[in-house]
């Protein structure tokens, strides 16, 4: 039922990107997203697109798989393009009754579409090559300095990883309860909006109950194993930078500098 959602899912394979330290990937993704707002010229976008293309090739994730995840945001993309295309004032190059396209609008729309697609593709490369556990680990280490100002960094990371871990479980549970209620004659395909909302009650009540039950069980299991938060806690797989991570940081820095240069000179 839910197997069409590929956006933000981990793709199991082996590649340079998969083996990279998750901190590098997290910092890298942020740098990339910022650089997309730094560049202004078409040359800059071309550079960003090339960079992403190389990353996709390096990630060993099939291109088709990545693009399939884009389908979900196609609608959003279309709206943005239309608004920019028709509503930007400037030199008119095409007109049909009240619809007119301006030169500025056209270039703006193309840039906007490029920026949005690159943004989404760029961040999905991270989630496709990094497991949620690695990601929260990286986040925790990167945010460590915030502990000085009493931000519960470990607890936030723990909550995040639990939340992420529970998404597939709850999806499975939804599927199961849905089937059980369909077997009792429930109708989830009704077009009538009132009926549709009503039909969600037999689904949501058991789902919430099971979520609370699972949360309870998990809390109990954690306490039984003497979990008591982040203080003095060691890791089974501590994050350690190695040579390829430093190289990756260097490449990132170089990319970012070039992006800034394109903005200044092109």
């Amino acid at each position: 039922m839910f197997d069409s959602i590929t956006l933000g899912q981990y793709y199991q394979t082996d590649s340079v990107l998969h083996r990279l330290d998750p901190r590098v990937k997290l910092v890298g993704t942020f740098t990339y997203l910022i650089s997309l707002f730094v560049v202004k010229s078409f040359w800059g976008y071309l550079l960003a697109a090339m960079f992403l293309f190389v990353m996709i090739k390096l990630s060993n994730v099939p291109f088709r798989y990545i693009v399939r995840g884009m389908k979900t945001i196609l609608f959003l993309l279309l709206i943005t393009v239309c608004f920019n295309l028709f509503l930007t004032p400037g030199e008119v190059i095409w007109q049909f009754s009240i619809f007119k396209i301006t030169r500025e609008g056209l270039s703006f729309a193309i840039k906007m579409a490029l920026r949005l697609s690159l943004l989404i593709l760029g961040s999905s490369i991270m989630t496709l090559t990094t497991t949620p556990t690695q990601l929260t680990d990286a986040l925790e280490t990167l945010m460590k300095p915030l502990r000085k100002v009493h931000v519960p960094v470990h607890e936030i990371a723990m909550m995040m990883s639990i939340a992420l871990r529970f998404i597939p479980i709850l999806m499975e549970e939804t599927d199961k309860i849905m089937k059980a209620q369909i077997a009792r004659g429930a109708d989830f395909e009704s077009k009538n909006i009132v009926k549709k909302i009503k039909s969600l009650v037999p689904l949501l009540v058991p789902l919430f109950i099971s979520a609370f039950r699972r949360a309870n069980d998990l809390a109990m299991a954690m306490e039984a194993r003497c979990y008591r938060g982040g203080e003095g806690r060691t890791k089974m797989k501590p994050l350690v930078y190695c040579a390829k991570d430093r190289v990756a940081y260097f490449i990132l820095l170089a990319f970012f500098v070039v992006c800034i240069l394109t903005r200044i000179f092109l």
Binding site: K176, I177, R184, G185, D187, V201, P202, P206
Partner: protein
């Protein structure tokens, strides 16, 4: 008429690297008024198989006929199928949601379009069938004990008056007493209501005492489909599948190996006792 399954296959995650063939060319006939045990190890495809029977999962290839009609046919009334073929899922108590037990049991009949009073009378009838005490009709389903919850959930399906009742691991997670209670109820329902019952389980001991016919599944195929005593003659092969014959069958086999000429085709402890006593003269004690 019953159900006729003709060469069905079912694939999970079709067309991806994770593709799994859960059902592999299954053909079988399920006539009316039979008590069937469907047995298989975890992952053998038994849950998938029963979900295809009432149309919850659409088969990848092949056909299923209910009373001679193809259930994937355009004119076929799937709602009718779902009320006729009742499916009780694993841990059915997780589907309870209403404020009290009787309203929850009414959910099924109401979905069939029955009036309030008729739904209620069917609910009461179903709750009586599962021996729910009257004092609990108005209790919240979440205040019941594990065994009571399960019986309430089974009543929820029973209230739709299915002609074929499928129970997927109805005894999972229950203590021995709760298990015997549920199995006893099911056997009684079978006698009273003359319906076909398919009992899905991985425990031979659960099933052997009650059913007329056993289907053994493994790797998405039906490997054995016969009377219980005949199926249990394949002890060795069943063990290779991660299953076992009932404990009493093992006792009888051991006795026979030690030289006591007993009949090993027995499934119930009482029969076994009678059989051993009949041979007591040969016992050297």
């Amino acid at each position: 008429m019953g159900i006729k399954v003709d060469d069905i296959c079912f694939l999970y995650e079709r067309g991806t690297a994770m593709q799994v063939r859960a059902l592999d060319h299954i053909s079988v006939e399920i006539p009316d008024d039979q008590f069937i045990g469907l047995i298989g190890h975890t992952g053998s495809g038994k849950s998938t198989f029963v979900q295809t029977l009432n149309g919850l999962l659409k088969v990848t290839s092949g056909h299923i006929y209910y009373n001679g009609e193809d259930i994937d046919g355009e004119k076929f009334d799937r709602k009718k199928l779902r009320s006729d073929v009742g499916l009780v899922f694993q841990y059915p108590e997780h589907q309870l949601f209403e404020v009290d037990v009787i309203t929850d049991v009414c959910f099924g009949p109401k979905n069939l379009g029955l009036s309030e009073s008729e739904a209620r009378s069917r609910a009461i009838e179903a709750l009586e069938s599962v021996k729910m005490s009257k004092s609990l009709y108005k209790a919240s389903p979440f205040d019941l004990s594990g065994g009571e919850k399960r019986r309430a959930a089974i009543a929820g399906v029973l209230a739709m008056r299915p002609k074929i009742l499928i129970l997927d691991e109805p005894t999972a997670g229950l203590d021995p007493r709760g298990r015997d209670e549920i199995l006893g109820l099911i056997a009684e329902m079978k006698k009273e209501r003359n319906m076909t019952i398919i009992l899905v389980s991985h425990s031979m001991d659960d099933v052997a005492r009650y059913v007329d016919r056993i289907m053994v599944m493994g790797g998405g195929k039906i490997l054995y489909d016969d009377e219980p005593v005949k199926v249990f003659r394949h002890v060795k092969e069943l063990e290779d599948l991660g299953l076992a014959a009932p404990q009493i069958t093992y006792v009888m086999k051991l006795l026979k190996e030690r030289g006591l000429d007993v009949n090993t085709d027995v499934l119930r402890v009482k029969e076994a006792a009678a059989e051993i006593l009949a041979h007591r003269r040969e016992l050297h004690v």
